[in-house]
């Protein structure tokens, strides 16, 4: 261990601790002469360890540590009037890129009150800062990209919706028009989800706002007289994964379209209620109307594409479909019971 040229002798253990510090560290006298420098300091800032002891901080290396701000801060620390905590400075050396340093300084507290010495820890944060900047840039790029994708999805859905609506206006057959309009509703149902997803964080979809928006959109395009027919949405605070929500949304779309088309003939007025509630992993979705009710037995309508879609989606969600007479009207319930486990017995729905 080199001898210090100051009048005081430092304990060998103190010097050893400084020299072996993993974090670049300087041990300074109160007049800012270097008593010891850690090997990590010499390595990080390319200073020959042999030249260090006894040298003034401002004379280290090629004089790059002669920073008036640092000197005045160290002076203030030595006099006890200030602490340097995470103070940022820039180290400029010829033929080197400027490094960003974070310095911490404090007086050594070893009981020798008259003999003030300073510990100066120097962390080079240049690379960490660059990484942070890169990460910020990447995050910004990702957000822009995501917006771009959402924009493209919206535009593509608009193209599909436009084509369907143009076809629906042109065809002569009422039945074909109905099918095209249904296809349009299904596209709009997926669009409502897309919109919901683009404003939500984390990929979970809040069902209340999603189903409300969905039913509003269905009502806007299918209900000519809002005074006669209305759709209510009562949904609890459930939030579900995007995949699940798209299935639930399509089920609601089909059931609401069905109710609007068949439950209220001859200018009958009424209400459709879409309800969803969950408890643990069990959930129940229902669409109820107070219309004319569904004929049963041989008068029952032939199952259409809508019924097929609802059955397939419900099965996927491990849900059971139940159709019941609400007197007046009809209620279709899709429910999932975790306790029911894997036995999704479809005969129970019949």
């Amino acid at each position: 261990m080199p001898k210090t040229p100051t009048v005081h002798f430092e304990a060998a253990s103190t010097l050893a601790v400084v020299v072996s510090s993993n974090e670049p560290l300087l041990f300074l006298s109160d007049d800012q002469k270097v008593i010891a420098a850690s090997a990590s300091f010499c390595r990080a800032f390319e200073i020959d360890p042999a030249t260090v002891p006894g040298r003034r901080l401002s004379d280290l290396g090629n004089g790059e540590w002669a920073m008036p701000k640092l000197a005045s801060l160290l002076k203030a620390t030595a006099s006890g009037s200030a602490h340097i905590e995470a103070y940022e400075i820039e180290l400029r050396r010829p033929n080197h890129k400027t490094r960003q340093l974070v310095v911490n300084a404090r007086t050594l507290d070893d009981g020798e009150i008259d003999h003030i010495r300073l510990l100066l820890a120097v962390t080079d944060v240049t690379d960490a800062r660059a990484e942070t900047r890169l990460k910020d840039d990447l995050l910004r790029d990702k957000a822009i990209l995501l917006q771009e994708v959402q924009h493209r999805v919206a535009n593509s859905l608009q193209i599909i919706a436009s084509v369907l609506m143009q076809s629906a206006r042109r065809v002569q057959s009422e039945e074909v028009r109905g099918h095209l309009q249904n296809a349009h509703h299904r596209v709009m149902s997926i669009a409502a989800l897309q919109r919901q997803l683009s404003t939500s964080t984390g990929g979970n979809v809040e069902l209340r706002s999603y189903l409300t928006q969905l039913c509003q959109s269905l009502g806007a395009s299918m209900i000519a007289d809002p005074g006669r027919l209305s759709i209510q949405v009562t949904v609890d605070d459930s939030a579900v994964e995007a995949d699940v929500s798209v299935s639930l949304g399509l089920i609601v779309t089909e059931l609401v379209i069905n109710a609007l088309k068949h439950a209220f003939p001859d200018e009958r007025s009424g209400t459709i209620v879409t309800d969803y509630r969950s408890s643990g992993s069990d959930w129940t979705l229902s669409v109820a109307d107070n219309g004319i009710g569904i004929p049963v037995g041989s008068d029952a309508p032939k199952a259409g594409l809508g019924t097929g879609i609802v059955e397939a989606l419900a099965k996927n969600l491990k849900g059971e479909i139940q159709l019941s007479d609400a007197r007046p009207g009809t209620v279709v319930t899709v429910s999932h019971r975790e306790s029911a486990g894997l036995q999704t017995d479809l005969s129970a729905a019949a």
């Binding site: 917006q147 959402q150 924009h151 493209r152 919206a154 535009n155 859905l157 608009q158 193209i159 599909i160 919706a161 436009s162 084509v163 609506m165 143009q166 206006r169 596209v187 709009m188 669009a191 409502a192 919109r195 683009s198 404003t199 928006q213 509003q216 959109s217 806007a220 395009s221």
Partner: protein, 134 residues
Amino acid sequence: MNNGIAVVLVVEDSAIIRMGAVDLVLSAGYEALEARDADEAIRIMESRSDIDLVFTDVQMPGTMDGIKLCHYIRERWPPVKLIVASGATILEESNLPMGSRLFSKPYDDHTIADAMARLLASEVSIGPAVEPSC
């Protein structure tokens, strides 16, 4: 207004969406004009004085997007009503000139036709929107 029929200018760069929008305007009983971008829209507006409403996309090639176009139109032709359809969800009606309506894509044709009817029925400058924009 042309022979008592309202004139609507559709501004949209996607050909199929533009066709759909023109179709929707015609089915609503108005006369339709079409432009592919803001510059073409302004040229058309300079060439005739009977345009009552402009229905525009936001993201378009050319010197102006739909938002800038709306502000330009409000400045130069204040009585013209404005409806904007946007694929981005971050836009708000407050980014647009007072009284304009904003709808996100894909829009529902009935909702747009309804908004057109309401705007065209109101003669004076329109206050803040009162109905949900979906």
